[in-house]
């Protein structure tokens, strides 16, 4: 045995540490660009960082990252303008 560094339980930061958690989703959030006022309340409340913030200056509404969005529905519940709704995932 010539190994020099001790073997230790160390992990490093990566995206997708628990896999592509979008797979867990049974319903998905959909934004209505008409209704979105780009307030980013939804962005703030997403526990999964699965919302790319809206940008008023560039007039861009929010975008979901379905690779990781678990479909909790918080964004839909919390959007003050009812701009998000949840849809059942289809197989």
């Amino acid at each position: 045995m010539t190994e020099k560094e001790p073997s230790m339980p160390i992990l490093y930061p990566i995206e997708g540490a628990a896999g592509l958690t979008g797979d867990w989703r049974t319903q998905r959030p959909i934004v209505d660009p008409e209704k979105c006022k780009m307030c980013n309340i939804c962005w703030q409340y997403c526990p999964d960082l699965a919302i790319t913030a809206a940008n008023k200056d560039e007039n861009k509404v929010i975008v979901f990252d379905y690779t990781y969005c678990k479909g909790c529905g918080i964004c839909a519940s919390e959007c003050p303008f009812g701009a998000i709704h949840m849809e059942k995932e289809v197989d």
Binding site: M8, P9, I10, L11
Partner: protein, 376 residues
């Protein structure tokens, strides 16, 4: 400051060694008979004589936790405990061992309750022989001082990366004063070296996560490496003992065991701690009576000095193993492990086991001699 020759207790010997290696962080909780170690260190820190942080924790569990935290952050650390305190930090004893943190913790051996007793036996540290710590048992205060120093050099080498537990018999060493040569602080520090290239070091610039959930394959990889590090530690301890002897002129057998008397004895008394030191007195007495006896002191119980035990058993005719600790429902610790080594290596030398000195029972050399005669 150069070498000093002083009259010192075992506890002070630990503190003087610790002072010389300059730990960054110390955390400890008082318990008889360990208290003087940390009282003295508190004083050195508060007076500015030592440039360490001393964390006055609220329990032993937190003492070792704090020290482990500091070790993760790349600090040189120290703590000390005893008996119930060691049990109370038990979760962390395993944690530190498994985490490969090079913590040094002096254990002042004291028996376990109930009944309540503050005197020596080795039941406390022996309870942690599985935990991935190197354990070095000492025979006198000079060795206590020297071992504490050596512990850092062993623990902090990257190919070992294991915590070390220098053990000293409660009261018998901890509170008894005897002559100790305190080596020059600078020489000691140079011998140990600084800890500027730590085993592990938290860095906000380079995040990592330590101790998350692991799958069995990784788990086994880490454990295998721990097992192997223990194996490597045997050579390391020997080497450090040798280097120490070259530097300071003091040596303890080959580092793992210390032999006394000539080979080819009819009876070899194997022991540990101060009882093994006192055994030498018994050997002198018996030898003067014309008996062919010698003795072996097991200095490191972990890693277990398998090869040396084989050697001893081959060169002598019978072993009398004296334990100061026992596994209830089986036998004494040294006895069982020595027997297992001999069995594993098909060595016929008979082994007789005796458990003595529990709960602080005094075992004078005359009694050891008597038992030896009964078993010759």
């Amino acid at each position: 400051m150069a070498e000093e020759v002083v009259m010192l207790t075992g506890n002070h010997s630990v503190s003087e060694a610790v002072k010389r290696v300059k730990p960054d962080v110390i955390a400890a909780y008082p318990i008889t008979p360990q208290t003087a170690i940390i009282e003295y260190l508190s004083k050195l820190v508060d007076s500015g004589e030592m440039d360490s942080h001393f964390i006055r924790v609220e329990s032993e569990h937190s003492a070792l936790a704090a020290v482990a935290g500091a070790s993760w952050a790349g600090a040189r650390t120290f703590t000390a405990t005893s008996s119930q305190g060691l049990l109370y930090m038990g979760e962390w004893v395993f944690w530190t061992g498994y985490a490969r943190l090079p913590v040094v913790m002096a254990v002042v051996n004291r028996c376990l309750a109930p009944g309540w007793s503050i005197w020596v036996d080795l039941q406390d540290s022996m309870a942690f022989r599985d935990a991935g710590w190197i354990q070095i048992y000492n025979k006198n205060n000079q060795e206590v001082f020297d071992t504490t120093i050596q512990s850092y050099k062993i623990a902090e080498s990257k190919d070992i990366a294991l915590p070390v537990m220098p053990c000293l018999d409660g009261f018998v060493l901890s509170h008894t004063s005897s002559k100790v040569i305190l080596s020059d602080p600078e020489e000691v520090y140079n011998f140990v070296g600084d800890y500027s290239d730590p085993i592990i070091e938290i860095d906000t610039g380079k995040p990592f996560a330590y101790g998350s959930i692991v799958m069995p394959d990784k788990y086994n990889k880490d454990r295998k490496d721990l097992m192997e590090a223990m194996e490597r530690a045997k050579a390391k301890i020997k080497a450090v003992n040798k280097e120490f002897s070259e530097t300071f002129g003091r040596t303890y057998g080959n580092g793992l065991i210390e032999k006394y008397g000539d080979d080819d004895a009819d009876l070899t008394i194997v022991g540990i701690g101060t009882m093994a030191d006192e055994t030498q007195q018994a050997i002198d007495m018996l030898t003067s009576e014309g008996l062919k006896v010698n003795s072996v002191r097991v200095r490191t119980f972990r890693p277990f000095p398998t090869e040396d035990i084989i050697d001893i058993a081959k060169k002598n005719h019978k072993l009398l193993v004296i334990d100061r600790s026992v596994s209830f429902g089986h036998e004494g610790h040294l006895q069982m492990e020595i027997e297992s080594v001999l069995k594993r290596n098909s060595i016929d030398t008979p082994v007789i086991g005796k458990v003595m000195g529990l709960g602080g029972e005094d075992v004078p050399y005359t009694r050891i001699a008597k038992v030896a005669k009964e078993n010759l």
